[in-house]
Amino acid sequence: MKCTHVKKMISRYVDDALSPDEKKDVDSHVRGCASCREGLEEIRALHQMFASAERFPAPYGFATRVLANLEEKEGSRLRSLLAIRPLFIRAAQVTFALVVITMGIVSGNLLLAERTETIEQAAVVQEAFSLDLFQATPPDSIGGIYSTLMRPNHES
């Protein structure tokens, strides 16, 4: 076998892509040919160099950035894609919204009822205080006379 022919086969030899017969031919040739043997060793060394060369994984957050990029550049299409949801999810969303609204109305009414009661109680307490402890308008002052006159069933 000629050297030019062997040199063409060295690459496939390293990749283990030769037939058993071809491999045998190359083996027997390189035993007797220093130049082809050197060529084979160097291509093998190159192959090993590649095998031990660093592999670079995608940087942290790469996929997230791809999707953010998509959203930015393909926004409208993406939104229309997101809008397509199964019917049961839609139904669940509507039901949830209705429940929230109903709860809002009911609790609002309850709170209002309770509050009215306390306002009335507060008014009674306030009246009691103002009449018993303070006399805002003494009877002999102008205000006092006025308020006495204004009382619905005054004696004088």
Partner: protein
């Protein structure tokens, strides 16, 4: 790289499930990013360029996925998009380099090489520098074979070339790299 799984995800995506596309991105992001790192320019600035390029790859894939036909595998199709994107990036950066400074390809040849290579980082750097001196077609073939570990059949599918052409390109790429590295290390 089971294509049935990929085709299921593509089917879901076409029905509107965005998570299916996200699953594809997460599945292939490392391989595509790594490919871009080895296909693009100098190791120093390859990091940013590779990230931009890989982002573009998935954006293009997203737009083109509706036209994807399942007779070819998704990942060979994705690799093809990635190689074309890297080619565009190289052309663009070459134009910018021409406008500003001398060609970046002319610079690394004068750089001294470490006599012994221990670390995978150093090995990948010297391999990357040598790769940059190969013609585009040879570089694509050898990166797919040695870095991405694709079979000859898969490479033929990615590059749309015959098996015979794949074998000859890989063989020529190895021969050129062997000479380049020998010159640098000898």
């Amino acid at each position: 790289m089971t294509s049935t799984d990929d085709n299921d995800l593509i089917g879901l995506f076409r029905k509107g499930a965005l998570f299916a596309f996200e699953a594809l991105v997460r599945k292939y992001q490392d391989r595509i990013y790594n490919l871009c790192r080895y296909m693009l320019q100098n190791p120093e600035d390859a990091q940013d360029a590779a990230q931009d390029a890989a982002q573009d790859v998935f954006l293009k894939a997203y737009r083109a996925l509706k036209d994807f036909r399942p007779e070819s595998s998704f990942y060979t199709w994705l690799y093809r998009i990635a190689l074309n994107t890297c080619l565009d990036y190289r052309r663009k950066s070459r134009r910018e380099a021409l406008r500003n400074e001398p060609l970046p390809e002319d610079l690394p040849s004068d750089e001294p090489f470490p006599e012994q290579l221990y670390e995978s980082e150093e090995i990948s750097e010297s391999v990357q520098l040598a790769l940059q001196k190969l013609p585009e077609k040879l570089r694509a073939a050898i990166v797919l074979r040695e870095i991405e570990a694709l079979s000859y059949e898969e490479i033929a599918e990615v590059l749309y070339i015959s098996m015979g052409t794949v074998k000859s390109r890989i063989s020529r790429a190895r021969e050129q790299l062997r000479r380049l590295l020998k010159k640098n290390m000898g």
